[in-house]
């Protein structure tokens, strides 16, 4: 025989009533939503930025599929419309116009800043919450109150990388190498400015075109100028080539860069000796987590898309869940979603907590990593200055 005390019954009843209240509130808020709830995404799925763009697609789509499989948002499924931007800003603008025709409740755009710059005016005029991972620091300085960024940006990295290199690793003669596009050259300028504040002058500042395959000339220049370290800023594919060519040329320098240094796509193509000892500061990656749920998530993403999840995948995945929690509270009224995004405080995502600043940046925690052989290890999270 089971004996249920009056106290247990009362507590149980209270919990059920409380839960029902929350569900009702959520249902009431989501009642303002169309069914299905239209979300829009533009990202690069073809062209030379496809590897980056698919990370955004994978993060958003994976979260949407999970939410829909779990019953959607208060019973309403999400209908995700995706448009390919290719590698061109003009195509990005056209893709956004097609997305806007579907009158989505929210729009995600890629991490490619020139695309986001091209799209911002149109999205702002449509008064739709616009969530991006674009890394150029100026993306959120465009004055759009509809634009929010949920990934760390170059400005944060440009401050932290030189500081860590000089103060923690004790290196004072760095060479700089960056991919010659909006992403790399913007970071290179920021890094030079941050080094100047630390009274350090780089011995060489070099770059390479995104399509370049041979970076040996730049590496030899940095070596010939007697650098004691290398600051490397690029995409996983070209960072891999630089690391391989350093190994081929026998150049051994303490190397620090963005998250590409520890991305699984980079490490898969390097030997242990080529990868070992390299540092990275950037968005948090799932592979170094000790949480089995997160590791399992990373495995499921890899199995589904044949592309390892990276910092961008995590960021876009988190963004969808952040929106889910907001829509459950405020419904699908766009100004209300925007206001809730602007008021985000300590919303816990997969690896970091998100907090909105006045400009619309929500990510302020980065990871410092060091490769042990081909395995990245998290040295620790680091907060952006002022957070």
């Amino acid at each position: 025989m089971f004996h249920i005390s009056l106290k247990t019954v009362m507590v149980g009843t209270a919990v059920i009533c409380l839960s029902a209240t929350f569900v009702q509130e959520s249902m009431a808020a989501a009642a303002s939503c169309p069914s299905p709830i239209p979300f829009g995404l533009t990202t690069a799925l073809t062209g030379n930025l496809a590897l980056l763009g698919t990370q955004a697609r994978n993060g958003v789509e994976f979260a949407v599929d999970e939410i829909n499989a779990g019953g959607g948002i208060a019973g309403k499924t999400i209908a995700l419309a995706t448009e390919d931007t290719g590698a061109s800003s003009t195509d990005a603008l056209n893709a956004m116009n097609r997305i806007l025709e579907g009158k989505p409740v929210v729009i995600f755009s890629s991490m490619i800043s020139p695309h986001v710059f091209a799209q911002t005016e149109g999205v702002t005029k449509s008064e739709t919450p616009f969530l991006v991972g674009a890394t150029n620091a100026k993306v959120t300085a465009q004055g759009s109150k509809w634009l929010f960024r949920t990934h760390v940006h170059d400005g944060q990295l440009a401050d932290l990388i030189p500081e860590y290199l000089v103060k923690s690793l004790g290196k004072t003669k760095p060479g700089i190498m960056a991919v010659a596009d909006d992403y790399g050259l913007g970071a290179s300028k920021g890094i030079q400015a941050a080094l100047a504040k630390l009274n350090v002058t780089p011995v060489a500042v070099t770059s390479y075109a995104p399509s370049d395959k041979d970076m040996s000339a730049q590496l030899l220049e940095i070596k010939d100028k007697d650098a004691d370290s290398l600051i490397l800023f690029g995409r996983p594919a070209d960072v891999t080539l630089v690391m391989k060519q350093m190994g081929d040329l026998g150049i051994k320098l303490t190397t620090i860069g963005n998250a590409s240094m520890v991305a699984q796509t980079t490490l898969n193509n390097l030997s242990a000796s080529e990868a070992d000892g390299n540092y990275a500061i950037g968005g948090m990656i799932p592979q170094t987590s000790t949480d089995p749920h997160i590791l399992n998530w990373a495995k499921r993403v890899q199995d589904k898309y044949r592309v390892p999840a990276d910092n961008f995948t995590v960021s876009y995945y988190d963004t969808v869940y952040l929106l889910k929690s907001i829509i459950e509270k405020v419904g699908c009224d766009k100004p209300a979603i925007r206001d809730a995004l602007a008021a985000t405080k300590d919303w816990k995502g997969m690896l970091i907590s998100y907090q909105a600043d006045p400009q619309g940046d929500l990510a302020h925690t980065l990871g410092i990593y060091r490769n042990k052989g081909k395995t990245p290890e998290l040295i620790g999270p680091i907060k952006e200055s002022g957070f």
């Binding site: 590897l51 010659a180 770059s207 075109a209 040996s216 000339a217 891999t240 796509t265 898969n268 193509n269």
Partner: protein
């Protein structure tokens, strides 16, 4: 300095290989195949599928790739060249550009966007002397280029097939009238041209990684090299390739790495202004 020379020559050898494939087709049908770079990319990925995905011995993966590329070359000819034969050449050229885009996207669908590496068929510690490092793979690239140049030279000048190709290139209709199997000759040219791109892809993938968009830039450089060397000239293509590799490497080291790609086109324009037929181009006469 020595290291820059070695690396410049290795890079130039890749450009030269792309140009040799380009020339083989040009010398037969007088068409510039702007999808040559994408054929290179296909060669790299087929090699990776064999050696990495299916874990075949690298040598077997190379043979499989060569056979596949020959077939792809013929399919390419059937889809791109035959339907537009006899039309203005620019139509065929535009179609090769379109086909390049199709191949790039096809590769993206089949292999995904991830960059992948292919093991080199040669192993061993790099050679080092006077501070200069030469990897075994770089030596293999030099040797392969020399062998292909020699074979292609012998094929075109010393074999019956080479003479048939030249006759086809000079006048397709007359060649057919005198009994030359024109279609078969063109098919072999496309098959060999694609195989040469496949070799270039197999040589590039161990050092530059393979990704769907890798062919665009390399194909364009192959075209630049052909123009610099003199379109249709085999030694010109090789010397043009080596020259461009050195220019790019030294330019990136001593002028600025920001304009590395621009050097190729600046040199091409300068050569065209000074020598309109390229450095080794032969004077040609046109039928009236």
């Amino acid at each position: 300095m020595g290291q820059l020379v070695v690396n410049g020559l290795a890079l130039g050898s890749i450009y030269a290989l792309v140009a040799l494939g380009l020339l083989l087709i040009f010398n037969t049908v007088q068409i510039v195949n702007f999808a040559q770079g994408q054929l290179l990319m296909l060669g790299a990925f087929i090699g990776i599928s064999g050696a990495v995905t299916h874990e075949l011995p690298v040598a077997i993966a190379w043979i499989v790739t060569m056979a596949a590329m020959a077939l792809i070359g013929i399919v390419f000819m059937v889809l791109v060249y035959f339907p537009l034969r006899g039309r203005p050449p620019f139509l065929v050229i535009l179609t090769t550009i379109a086909m390049g885009i199709v191949l790039e996207n096809l590769a993206l669908i089949i292999w995904g966007p991830l960059p992948v590496s292919l093991p080199s068929p040669v192993r061993g510690a790099p050679l080092r002397f006077a501070g200069v490092v030469i990897s075994m793979h770089q030596l293999f690239i030099f040797a392969t280029l020399a062998a292909i140049l020699l074979l292609q030279f012998l094929l075109l000048t010393k074999t019956r097939f080479g003479i048939l190709m030249q006759a086809t290139a000079q006048d397709l209709h007359t060649a057919r009238l005198v009994g030359i199997p024109v279609n078969r000759t063109i098919a072999v040219a496309f098959a060999f041209g694609a195989m040469l791109s496949g070799v270039a892809g197999l040589l590039v993938a161990p050092i530059f990684l393979a990704e769907p968009t890798m062919g665009g830039s390399l194909g364009l450089k192959g075209f630049v090299v052909s123009v610099i060397g003199g379109f249709g000239n085999l030694p010109g293509a090789v010397l043009g390739g080596l020259f461009l590799g050195l220019i790019e490497t030294f330019g990136a080291r001593y002028i600025s790495s920001n304009f590395r790609d621009a050097y190729a086109f600046i040199v091409m324009i300068a050569v065209l202004v000074a020598w309109p037929r390229g450095l080794f181009g032969e004077k040609s006469s046109e039928k009236v």
